[in-house]
């Protein structure tokens, strides 16, 4: 549902069905809406069966990388020799992305239920829900819901009335670092260390929180799980408009120069053009679409033609040279100064770099300085080469992909909007000196 707007007929409302419905937040309200039946059912199955169903459904990670969720769960050791952990990644800090926030705000019990099922499936005793520090309202709601869940025996000792089953869930609040959304940085942060991504391998399934086998999933990924259990893998798999490798529904957070920004839930493979022009009401009066970042700020920018022909699923985005990412759709109309926008994006990454890797620490900062220099009218043509060289070094060579994320908009931006850069360099545009 395109919350805060009424649902559009082209939407497929699953996760967002109760957005805007305050009653759905409470335990009783959630029960009335069919809550916790999936968990009930899941607990009657063997953990392995659940993993098979999730595999079968084709669900892929909604946090950015799109890794098949069932497969990820199956990496956890079958023989338990150590404690297992589940982490729910609710650190949603990617510019342009605000879907997890709404899931937590309106349907906290959906997330708890999804976590509980996953936790049971991977045989974890504890789930950590890592919530972005700035999310004060979602935090309060989640805390409330968690208390309710404990109070009603959903969690804790003999969870769901199952003798001997213990499910514990803790909320861990972030402290304002984007990098802590990266899965291994998040684990370091939970452990009380500096939120630096860890080198992989070892992967979390072998060495995660406190060095124990761990699975980490995004809020949206986990929230989808109860629906899959309730309605079956085949149903979920059938939700697919284009590539059979992308199934289910996806929430897209649309922001920028559209008339009706908001969260829209559509079936995988939905055309990006329709999302912008129909669901979001199109561009502002007298403005034309110029560019779009379809997957949160970390993915390459699309120009108008690409945007209008892009299908919103993992494969469709790759075909256009970008990625589905987290589903944060940032739309620019022809009033946008792309050089400035790209500098803003780069500055975000430079600010958020954990500063471990040479290329990222120095590369992001240098990129920003060069872009600022260009904006100030002090750039030279060779600076564009320098930017591309830097981007080349920042791509595929670091511990995590934050560095790549900084390079992506720069490379695609120079490729697709080179004339705007050159205009600044040649003095054809008024220098921007006050850099907000």
């Amino acid at each position: 549902m395109g919350y805060p707007h009424p649902p559009h007929p082209k939407e497929t409302v699953v996760l967002s069905q109760y957005f805007g419905d305050p009653e759905a937040r409470t335990y009783e309200g959630w029960k009335k809406r069919g809550g916790y039946t999936a968990l009930e059912q899941a607990l009657s199955m063997a953990p392995g069966e659940i993993i098979e169903i999730v595999k079968e459904s084709g669900l892929r990670g909604r946090g950015g990388a799109g890794f098949p969720t069932g497969l990820k769960w199956s990496f956890m050791p079958k023989e338990k020799t150590k404690p297992h952990y589940l982490c729910c990644n609710a650190d949603e800090s990617e510019p342009g992305t605000f879907k997890d926030r709404e899931i937590m705000r309106w349907t906290p019990h959906a997330l708890i239920e999804g976590c509980a099922i996953a936790q049971y499936a991977i045989q974890a005793e504890v789930t950590y829900i890592y919530i972005r520090g700035e999310f004060t309202e979602p935090l309060a709601i989640m805390q409330q819901a968690l208390e309710e869940a404990y109070r009603h025996g959903i969690l804790g000792k003999d969870a769901m009335g199952k003798k001997g089953l213990r499910l514990d869930m803790y909320i861990h609040r972030g402290a304002g670092a984007y990098i802590c959304g990266e899965e291994t940085a998040l684990m370091n942060s939970i452990e009380g260390r500096r939120g630096n991504p860890r080198i992989k391998p070892p992967f979390p399934a072998a060495y995660g929180v406190f060095g124990m086998p761990t699975t980490i999933n995004n809020v949206e990924t986990l929230a989808a799980v109860p629906h899959i259990i309730n309605r079956g893998a085949a149903w979920y798999k059938s939700l697919s408009l284009s590539s059979p490798k992308s199934t289910g529904t996806k929430l897209f957070s649309v922001c920028g120069h559209v008339r009706k920004p908001g969260n829209y839930e559509v079936t995988m493979g939905f055309p990006l053009g329709e999302l912008i022009y129909d669901l979001c009401g199109g561009m502002r009066e007298g403005r034309k679409l110029k560019a779009c970042i379809p997957g949160g700020s970390s993915v390459p920018i699309l120009n108008r033609e690409e945007t209008e022909s892009c299908l919103l699923d993992y494969e469709g985005c790759i075909e256009k040279g970008t990625m589905l990412g987290s589903g944060g759709v940032i739309v620019f109309d022809d009033s946008a100064d792309m050089v400035y926008q790209i500098m803003r994006l780069a500055r975000f990454y430079a600010h958020e770099s954990c500063a471990q890797c040479t290329q990222c620490r120095e590369g992001t900062a240098w990129t920003v300085r060069i872009l600022q220099r260009i904006l100030a009218g002090e750039g030279e043509m060779k600076d564009l080469d320098l930017l591309l060289e830097l981007a080349e070094q920042m791509t595929g060579k670091t511990i995590c992909v934050l560095s790549d994320s900084c390079a992506a908009p720069v490379v695609s931006g120079i490729k697709k909007f080179r004339d705007e850069f050159e205009a600044y360099i040649k003095g054809a545009r008024r220098p921007v000196t006050a850099l907000a």
């Binding site: 600010h351 500063a355 471990q356 040479t358 120095e362 590369g363 900062a365 070094q393 060579k397 670091t398």
Partner: protein, 982 residues
């Protein structure tokens, strides 16, 4: 075993090896910056990237494990390009103008060498987009400073501090381009519990963290040295190997050698090892022999024509007791701050400490400088005369745990062979003598059974009793902390809340001197739970039943009443100890320096034996030895009842053997065990002539006032030392010896490891290596002593000491050898007693022990219990460390540690002067408030002449080993009125 191809070369790499390791096996070097041996791999600098066939991305060689069949190209175009770019990016923040213009640049450090090697041209600083890096600077620090513009954020320093030293002073703060190295929260290393070990200095690849060198402090020029000489640190029993960098016959810097080598320290040192070497070139060093004015040679004979009676050994100084009661000047100001600019008066702290802790000029007044000929002639003729006139019983020698094995061997050889006396001893008496007596009674051994590194590698439970390892053996302490970090269970029994106690899983904080009750109760509980190792007891020991009966009454509840440790905690510790599976037991002065020291160690040995926690890798018995060569001096027979290698002097066959090698008549050597140090310095002692090599008993022995008086009554006293010490000032002749850096010799560390230290520089002036002095003296006294080098001495030692038979100088290069080394092809012995003990029947013996109170308990008049011991920054009587600029700057003042609540009751605050009085003496010292000590207990370090702790300690002797009770005495503490202070 995976087989991989690196640049076309096939290598078999061990399972789990990284690409970096595999490449090294193939003889191929890959550049690294953030990687460093023994540090956790973080893979952040990305300079080590290589191409791997079939992989789309470059992979970091340091962090990628090889898999079978991998084909690796370390110098692919892509990889080299990425590497150059890493260097270029780092250079953008680095002051690199001196590296411009390509290959002609002079690299100054590891990082710059890569820059030059890869021919990366830095942008001129003035034309850059990015600014130089910042970070905390430690301005005014006496030993370690930072120039963070040189930092490349490899985080080696952070990991070295956190993961090797387990301290955690340094960290990375902020993100992105503002990321920087910080010191604690506010830039103050003191508050962040820095120990100044200098591990960060060692690992930093750029010199961003650097040492303040005694000569070129902060100078423009990097310190260059002509030579690097491998040596062994002269301080504690860990025996860290160090490299001495020499220029113009001076040690200009100390570093620690290649850490891949299996040395005890593997590259680490503590603050003393790395920064405490400037005493070597201190201006107080004796450069010529001194003879007390009054000795003259008339008609070929030496006669004393000076004053007699009271004035015979007097001088223009106050006695230690006299100095003790004086008020002390305040400490110099301490410099702190985050940045240099916070500290405009940097030079304020450069005051020369040589004028504070140095030998007062007037101490030299009673002496005149002499030639070696004169001095040795006087020593030889006086020793010979007293021996002739008063017999062997009047002769005695104090040997030195700071001198080499060869020197100790030679000196006891001289006194035993030439003077027929066994009055041969050294400071082990006040150290582990009770351990030795207890271990000999139980197992017939005198040294640690295991190795230090097994604690880190293999032990599950660590039990430490009375050993403040992190301060007294810091490098070993760090290994213990690492073991604890990796999951070993740590139990600490100590009346003080020392660092390890704070980290420990169980801290048994007992009343001082009650250890026997504690250990007996632990054994009681172990037996009650049936956790003893019955098989071990049956096969490897005897007399167990006696101990079983003896510990019966020591229930944990009864022990709680005596020790103050809750019974439940005693039970838990006992169970953990017994369950192991591998428990290592460590102890030190906290047990041994008691009236019941022998019993305490025996009770601990009972615990070890009853649980079978000995003789396996990971289950070791480790008395932690104090001095760098206290083990070696003991091994060399500097003990009144044994010849070298613990062969009893009372055995005529052994005497025969030694007499033959030493070329004397067996009958001239004594079968009687000699007197011990603590028995010599007493009024009724028969000793008339005393020779002291490198010891300072006037500060280190209990009840100084009496000891000092006794020394003044000697007929003849010769002292061989580096400085005119508190003891040497009473001598007739002072012979200037050589420091560790000025001679070659071998030393034995606490794990029986014999290591070699090479001569790096010449001794100052006419000072001579100590072995040379003894060789010369021996020959003058008519004992054939033909050695021309320490190596020749070792050749004789090998002949007489079976455990050393396989030791040659050549074999000692590298990590040394752990004795026993019975033959030249024997690899040495990392741990002992795998299947038998060195007793006649191969079994160990249990000895029941009962608890008894310490000699002096607090009462109304003396309500506090005083404990003495060492500090991190000082060594024993301070002879060396107080003459070391950096070390003394850290701890410039004599202090007493006192509990905050006691301080409040006394109405004193940090730094206030207080008067401490025991039944024997009084000192005035300043207050340090610390909750390390329990209520009603105080701790006084014994390093400070001006407030000598041993003025207060009690001379009562332990019956087996004649150890003094240095750890417990009752004292009274009074506030010194402030008016008196001004």
């Amino acid at each position: 075993m995976p087989t991989v191809t690196v640049n076309g070369k096939r290598v078999n790499a061990p399972e789990g090896a990284t690409i970096l390791e595999a490449a090294r096996l193939a003889g191929i070097e890959i550049p690294t910056l953030c990687w460093y041996p023994k540090l956790p791999v973080v893979g952040n600098c990305r300079i080590c990237v290589v191409s791997v066939e079939g992989q789309p991305k470059l992979l970091p060689a340091c962090a990628t494990k090889v898999s079978d069949g991998m084909t690796i190209a370390t110098e692919s175009e892509e990889a080299v390009e990425a590497r150059r770019e890493v260097l270029r990016l780092l250079l953008e923040r680095y002051p690199a103008d001196h590296l411009r213009n390509g290959g002609r640049a002079q690299p100054r450090n590891e990082f710059e060498r890569y820059v030059v090697q890869y021919g990366v041209e830095p942008t001129p600083v003035a034309e850059r987009d990015l600014s130089l890096r910042e970070g905390d600077e430690r301005p005014g620090d006496p030993m370690i400073r930072h120039d963070m513009s040189l930092c490349i954020l490899c985080t080696r320093c952070v990991r070295a501090c956190e993961d090797i030293q387990v301290v955690g002073v340094l960290d990375v703060a902020y993100r992105g381009e503002h990321a920087q190295i910080i010191v604690g929260n506010d830039g103050d290393p003191d508050k962040a519990a820095c120990t100044w070990c200098g591990e960060c200095v060692r690992v930093c690849p750029t010199g961003a963290i650097f040492e303040v060198l005694p000569r070129e402090r902060f100078g423009e020029h990097p310190v260059r040295s002509d030579r690097v000489v491998r040596s062994v640190c002269p301080y504690c029993g860990v025996g860290c190997q160090v490299d001495l960098h020499v220029r113009d016959n001076e040690v200009v810097r100390v570093t620690s050698p290649d850490i891949l080598l299996d040395t005890p320290n593997q590259g680490s040192t503590c603050v003393k090892g790395r920064f405490g070497y400037d005493f070597v070139q201190h201006r107080d060093r004796l450069t010529r022999p001194l003879i007390r004015k009054g000795w003259v040679k008339r008609e070929g004979r030496w006669v004393w024509e000076g004053p007699t009676g009271e004035l015979r050994r007097s001088g223009p100084w106050r006695t230690i007791a006299g100095e003790g009661v004086e008020l002390k000047p305040p400490a110099p100001p301490r410099a702190t701050g985050k940045r240099l600019r916070d500290l405009p008066l940097l030079e304020r702290v450069t005051q020369d400490i040589r004028d504070r802790a140095a030998t007062p000029a007037e101490w030299y007044e009673p002496f005149r400088e002499a030639t070696w000929e004169e001095a040795l002639d006087l020593v030889a003729s006086e020793l010979a005369r007293i021996h002739r006139e008063r017999g062997p019983g009047a002769m005695a020698v104090f040997q030195s745990a700071k001198c080499s094995n060869e020197e100790n061997y030679l000196l006891q050889r001289l006194f035993r062979a030439r003077f027929g006396t066994n009055n041969v001893d050294h400071c082990t008496r006040l150290c582990h003598s009770t351990s030795v007596s207890a271990m000999q009674a139980a197992l017939n051994t005198a040294a640690a059974s295991g190795s230090m590194r097994e604690i880190e590698e293999a032990c599950d439970v660590i039990f430490i009793a009375g050993a403040n390892t992190t301060e007294t053996h810091p490098v070993f302490g760090a290994a213990i902390k690492r073991a604890h970090k990796r999951g070993a269970f740590l139990i600490v029994a100590d009346p003080r809340k020392i660092e390890l106690a704070r980290r420990a899983d169980i801290h048994l904080q007992m009343q001082p001197g009650t250890d026997v009750a504690l250990f007996n109760a632990m054994l009681n509980h172990i037996l009650a739970c049936g956790l003893e190792n019955q098989e071990f007891i049956a096969k490897r020991t005897k007399n167990f039943e006696a101990v079983r009966r003896a510990v019966q009454p020591y229930t944990p509840e009864r022990a709680e009443a005596i020790t103050g440790v809750p019974a439940a905690l005693i039970r838990e510790a006992a169970e953990r100890y017994a369950r192991g599976p591998n428990t290592t037991t460590l102890w030190a002065m906290g047990l041994t320096q008691h009236l019941t020291g022998h019993d305490m160690v025996t009770a601990l040995l009972n615990l070890i034996l009853a649980t079978g926690m000995i003789g396996r890798w990971g289950a070791a018995m480790m008395p932690v030895r104090g001095q760098n060569n206290v083990q070696g001096a003991s091994d060399m027979g500097a003990i009144p009842f044994v010849y070298p290698d613990y062969q009893p002097v009372s055995d005529p066959k052994i005497r025969e053997k030694f007499a033959r090698v030493w070329g004397v008549d067996p009958e001239s050597m004594s079968l009687e065990p000699g007197l011990k140090v603590t028995e010599m310095a007493r009024e009724d002692s028969p000793i008339r002539a005393l020779y002291i090599m490198g010891e300072n008993p006037i500060i280190s022995d209990p009840d100084i006032a009496h000891a000092e008086a006794w020394f003044a009554t000697l007929e003849f006293l010769a002292v061989q030392d580096l400085f005119l010490t508190e003891t040497a000032r009473y001598a007739d002749v002072v012979l200037p010896g050589a420091s560790f850096a000025e001679k070659t010799g071998t030393y034995v560390n606490t794990e029986r490891r014999i290591q070699i230290a090479h001569k790096a520089i010449e001794p100052p002036g006419e000072a001579r290596a100590d072995w040379e002095i003894i060789v010369d003296l021996s020959n003058r006294l008519g004992l054939p002593t033909p050695f021309k080098s320490p190596e020749e001495v070792m050749e004789e030692i090998r002949k007489v000491a079976p455990a050393w038979a396989g030791v040659t100088y050549r074999r000692l290069e590298g990590a040394g050898l752990q004795y026993p080394v019975p033959t030249e092809d024997h690899p040495g012995t990392p741990f002992l007693f795998a299947d038998r003990f060195p007793t006649e029947d191969g079994k160990a013996t249990f000895h029941p022990v009962e608890y008894s109170d310490p000699a002096e308990l607090p009462d109304e008049e003396y309500p506090f219990v005083m404990n003495t011991g060492r500090q991190l920054y000082h060594w024993h009587t301070g002879t060396m460390t107080r003459r070391s600029r950096g070390l003394d700057a850290r701890e410039p003042l004599a202090v007493v540690e006192i509990h905050p609540e006691d301080a409040e009751e006394l109405g004193v605050t940090e730094g206030d002067p207080v008067r401490i009085t025991s039944r024997r003496g009084t000192i005035v010292t300043s207050v340090r408030i610390s909750d390390r000590v329990a209520r009603r207990q105080v701790f006084v370090p014994f390093h400070f002449r001006e407030a000598a702790a041993n003025l207060l300690t009690s001379p009562v002797l332990e019956p087996h080993a004649k150890m003094a009770e240095l750890k417990v005495c009752a004292v009274r503490i009074e506030k010194v009125p402030v008016e008196a202070a001004v």
